[in-house]
Symmetry: C2
Subunit: 310 residues, 2 copies
């Protein structure tokens, strides 16, 4: 295997705390043995890397200079078209050109999705790629998608998310027929928005093991292996879970052991990189507010997936 | 004040654990001094009450016999039209007829809303009543609506929810100009579903103190006094908050003091009765899974609101 195709392309300017948090995350990941190709303003990245770790070149880190930056609030499609020399687009292009095996960015997630679609292309039969997270439950993990890539969905998009999520769960959990459910405001038939009701009919007729609607509590009790929702509800679901966990961390701050347990179970989720499914390549989306530890975990996760899917 | 108009009408057959959990809740509430008018099959309710508390008649409880029951899964509008003699519809009618000052049901919440609209009528300018909860934050409370009455909304519905929520927050928190925000997948302008973006424009032009979009974490940090959303997202938000809190209760079950703190902060929320806003009368909606304690708290809350709004 070519070493290039094992390395992780990283958007050095992606995220609220870039480039510093990204540089520190890259150093942490590189020290754990991950070859990293980092994109951004060359002089600035080299200066930062040298300041934090004079021997950074020995860690397998390669800097690739880019001249543009896509901001967090930019309109994604427009930004990707107008800034082909941005760190985000260049990092995705590295995967298409075989210079890296996968890419991670904590930047504008809409732009990352747009770049992945334009540069890598969609998987067959998939109209809209989706962001999939692996969330903790009381008895294992669940694949949840879409977590925010598509805020406005149509029923057949949710059906396609079902297929994407099931394929991911099959690989991740090593099960042959993952249970697929729709996130809803009630488990009964007849509950749900118009979107959920129509998606339920499509999923019922699909070849998937569709088990119906589930409420958030059922997801956390591991009643399903895959939970499907539109990107707006999924984002509210994920961020409410994280925010509630954050409140508990605050309430429990006197109890170091409990805080550690919470970090282990809930600190991960989207912070450490969610997978963009439905595109031809390994693409991980980070939380905008990722600090160095989260960046490092996401880069390591990208690397693990690259090795597993070779 | 007529004692009748202080009493709380209760749907004796509403909820997953009715009538037993309701009867026990009615007894608890009555023992705390709340006059209760309970609707349901007369012989069954009297037998249950007598079994649990032989002296129940001395507690100010009155049983009113009804012959029909609306099930949890029935289509709401149809059920209300077809079953005028159900415990749910009869309990709402008691408010319209001045036999009670307010009503509580843990039954089919769609049917409760439909009955409230048909029997009590909407407030002026309000097309869709909404379920409003008072949720805990790190520094106080926030009014959240809609929590599930309207799963499919249009932008002007969200604007109306803004007015309903602001009026409620003004009374509850005794503030003159409550902050109103839209629940969204990002605080930046340009984030949000098509629905949220259009509602934001309407709210921007309204006379409300609209502060823009908020994510779940900002809600929990008390960045707003009122958070507005469609009933589907609001239900996912509320139930994710409750389910995450439930997971923590499970993880912390060895720590009795912490569990008590969690119960105080999170055990309440929707379980103890959310207010249906936008109808002419005091209507409280309970969680279907309400046990006796939750029923009792909801009846007490209904009573407190009746007295406060006289």
């Amino acid at each position: 295997v070519d070493t290039n195709t094992r390395s992780v392309a990283v958007d050095g300017m992606g995220g609220d705390f870039a480039p510093l948090a990204v540089v520190d995350g890259v150093l942490l990941a590189a020290k754990s043995g991950v070859p990293v190709l980092v994109f951004g303003p060359e002089a600035e990245l080299i200066a930062l890397l040298s300041e934090r770790e004079p021997a950074w070149r020995d860690l397998g880190i390669v800097v690739s200079g880019t001249s543009e930056v896509i901001e967090m609030a930019e309109e994604p499609v427009h930004a990707v078209r107008r800034k082909p020399h941005s760190s985000l687009v260049a990092a995705v292009r590295a995967v298409a050109e075989g210079k890296a095996g996968g890419v991670f960015s904590a930047g504008n997630s809409g732009a990352l999705m747009a770049a992945a679609v334009f540069v890598l292309g969609r998987e067959e039969g998939i109209e809209r790629p989706a962001i999939a997270g692996v969330l903790p439950t009381l008895q294992g993990s669940v694949v949840a998608l879409d977590l925010g890539a598509n805020v406005d969905c149509r029923p057949h998009h949710l059906e396609q998310f079902g297929y994407l999520g099931a394929a991911y769960a099959r690989r991740l959990f090593n099960i042959s027929k993952p249970r697929v459910a729709l996130l809803s405001n009630g488990a009964e038939r007849g509950k749900g928005s118009a979107l959920v009701k129509q998606a339920a009919e499509l999923l019922q007729q699909s070849s998937l093991h569709f088990i119906g609607n589930v409420e958030p509590a059922a997801v956390m009790q591991h009643a399903t292996d895959v939970v499907v929702c539109d990107g707006f509800s999924g984002n509210v679901f994920l961020k409410t879970l994280e925010a509630t966990a954050g409140m508990f961390r605050h309430l429990l701050r006197h109890d170091a052991a409990m805080v550690r347990l919470l970090e282990e179970r809930f600190g991960e989720s989207a912070q450490s990189g969610a997978r963009l499914l439905g595109v031809r390549g390994v693409v991980l989306v980070g939380h905008g507010a990722s600090h160095a530890q989260a960046v490092a975990r996401a880069i390591q996760k990208t690397h693990t997936i690259i090795l597993a899917e070779k």
